[in-house]
């Protein structure tokens, strides 16, 4: 099965990790932008393979995490309305709004459905002409083409019962916001490979130049990530600050131009609030004038929702890389995946949930101990089986 195992080869990974160890002479902080990369780093234990000085900072690239609470509250309000079929990607269902989540709306009789593609939501609208079908269109440039295609198709087919609740966000303005912040701690970036597969990486050289920061387009498999980190460290050690492509099998400089053309037709750049971070100018997309009739916020005039963030939650600081999840006082105490206070604890891509789930709440000694016992018991079982064969 191509791509399932060839980019997960443990031996090659160890060799790449050794190269990083050999190259790194100073501590560096590298931010992986995309939540999918955070997930893979933690799931595969890539961070455990790096030299102590190389610190991975988990960026604001999880769509679930950065979708503003206000919009979640709007989603809940729309999903509660009779005659609405509310469609969403799976992991938005457990994100807590100010009052409850989409699971609870479903439990209370709301028609909330998980779909894998917004085009499935369009089909639902065709099959249910007496219902209003709303798709919760969140995410970065990666999910945008499919969302754009859904309204494009809906318009072509003259559907009056399909709309999009849009909260699209864009990577380059977020990177610029992080780089221009006074408490900036990031030395280099791993750019989000799948965002670049759509948009290309022509937007990044001016940022790398302006902020003297190396950026490497990086994929999601363990070897992709290690290669991205290795190239980033090499640049930092050599004092270079270029935009490199370490995901050549997927990403081209100019990106997917058919998708970009559709995006330009359907969406318009707008200021966008990022949960935990605040408003970043020109950092998102809304539906363009030509498609305004498909905007769920226009179609459902939602008023009077009360939005209140948890005062304990420091997800904004986590998303900007100012603190690590475990440095938040509520981490693992008031805030767990079972009782999330902020969105970073909800999604498996959220930095807090990733840390909590994959053992970052263990002390370093405990983790090291766990590794030793695996090895020790393997030795025991090997010697036991040898004895058994005598």
């Amino acid at each position: 099965m191509k791509y399932l195992t060839e980019f997960r080869n443990g031996e090659i990974a160890q060799r790449m990790a050794r190269e990083i160890h050999a190259a790194a002479t100073r501590p560096w902080k590298i931010m992986e932008v995309c939540g999918g990369q955070t997930h893979s780093i933690i799931k595969n234990g890539i961070d455990q393979m790096l030299p102590a000085g190389i610190e991975m900072i988990h960026g604001p690239g999880c769509p679930v995490c950065v979708t503003p609470l206000e919009l979640i509250d709007k989603a809940l309000a729309i999903a509660r309305q009779p005659g609405v079929i509310f469609c969403s990607f799976g992991d938005m269902l457990r994100v807590p709004g100010t009052e409850g989540d989409l699971f609870q709306v479903k439990g209370a009789g709301g028609d909330v459905r998980v779909v894998y593609s917004p085009l499935d939501a369009v089909e639902l609208a065709v099959k249910n002409p007496d219902k209003q079908v709303v798709f919760f269109g969140v995410g970065f440039e990666t999910t945008a083409p499919a969302n754009a295609m859904s309204v494009h198709v809906a318009k072509r087919r003259g559907l009056k019962n399909y709309s999009l609740l849009v909260s699209h966000v864009l990577v380059p303005p977020a990177i610029e916001a992080i780089l221009s912040a006074p408490d900036r701690r990031i030395d280099g970036f791993l750019l989000a490979g799948h965002v670049c597969s759509v948009m290309g990486y022509w937007e990044y050289p001016p940022l790398a130049e302006k902020y003297i920061t190396p950026m490497v387009v990086t994929g999601f498999e363990p070897l992709d990530l290690l290669d991205g980190i290795r190239r980033c460290v090499m640049q930092l050690e050599a004092g270079r600050h270029e935009v490199e492509n370490a995901y050549e099998r997927i990403v081209r400089f100019e990106g997917n131009q058919a998708a970009q053309k559709l995006l330009a037709e359907v969406f318009t750049v707008t200021d966008r609030a990022w949960r935990g971070i605040g408003v970043i100018p020109k950092s998102g997309w809304r539906l363009s004038e030509a498609y305004r009739e498909f905007d769920a916020e226009e179609r459902f005039q939602i008023a009077g929702t009360h939005t209140a963030e948890s005062p304990l939650c420091r997800s904004g600081d986590v998303l900007r890389g100012v603190i690590k999840p475990a440095e938040c006082a509520a981490f693992g105490k008031e805030c767990t995946p079972r009782h999330p206070l902020g969105a970073t604890m909800v999604s498996s891509e959220g930095a807090c949930a990733a840390y909590y789930n994959y053992g970052r709440f263990l002390s370093a000694e405990e983790l090291a101990g766990a590794g030793r016992t695996v090895l020790a018991s393997q030795q025991v079982s090997e010697s036991a089986s040898r004895q058994g064969s005598k």
Partner: protein, 358 residues
Amino acid sequence: MKEMMQDAKPDFANWSCPLPLADYPTIVMGHGGGGKLGNELVEHLFLPAFRNPELENLGDAAVLELGGGRLAMSTDSYVVQPLFFPGGSIGELAVNGTVNDLAVSGAEPKFLSASFILEEGFPLAQLAAIVEAMARAAATAGVKIVTGDTKVVERGHGDGCYINTAGVGLLRPEISVGPRGAKPGDAILVSGTIGDHGMAIMSVREGLEFESQIRSDCAALNGMIAEVLAAAGASVHAMRDPTRGGLASTLNEIAAASGVGIEIDEPSLPVRAEVQSACELLGLDPVYVANEGKAVFFVAPEMADKILAILRANPLGKEAARIGSVTAEHKRMLVARTAMGANRVIPIQIGEQLPRIC
């Protein structure tokens, strides 16, 4: 947020421990997902209400001392959609699921009950197909369906056909394989590939259809388990069938019940390439995906190879594998050694496994 939660908290005055349930005042799908939410219902609602020594064991089946003999009793309800899927139907599931719950408790399954809740308008031809499947499955497993019940609900109040089965079996003497029996040093074996059933269902679920060769692994395990127990019963310390919530939930439950740590070697997990691919595509982790014809064995390490050979000799256990071991370290925690040589904790899931966005 915190204030909000307190405001929303309903009156749980009669409950022994209201707090862990407070943030979901109504039932959500996750309460049936085989994860933490379901466990909390058991722990904080059912157990306090029904408390008795037989229930408190919380095994797959209750152990009953009756008339000088020891019986195992188990019940399960089946609400799968669609009713027919690649590799089986709700009929096979209803028989094999209860047979397996008895078998992994160390019992020899004997008798089953079958109750049907049918929706007005449900095609009789489909019911006949389901009942035939049940009859075939019962014959294969060597159990008799000896009592039953039928109820019909109005159209719109059911999902075609729900089935409940209960079963009793005779416990083998001197066999103790409850979830509390895992010991540090034990080797962990799984009887075959994981995730097949869950992905087979996914592949035909409405709105999600994808073409695949994946078939449900639905099968009665009592024959294979009987072979293992006859040859090495004293060396099997714990057994369970990893159904809802998958292998990860089962291993976490045994780690918690036995007060031990569990280590698995991730590359050694048997997963079909099609299942792995489908999981990658949908953003799911096969360790959380349901199985209906697999068992996990915690066995004395010196007997692991022998038991593995017995499993592999059985057609249902051809792809059995040794996947890890039990440790006295990191108690109540499941730690996986990744292909990269790093460690990760695999937690019990909260509710349903949610597909990731991208």
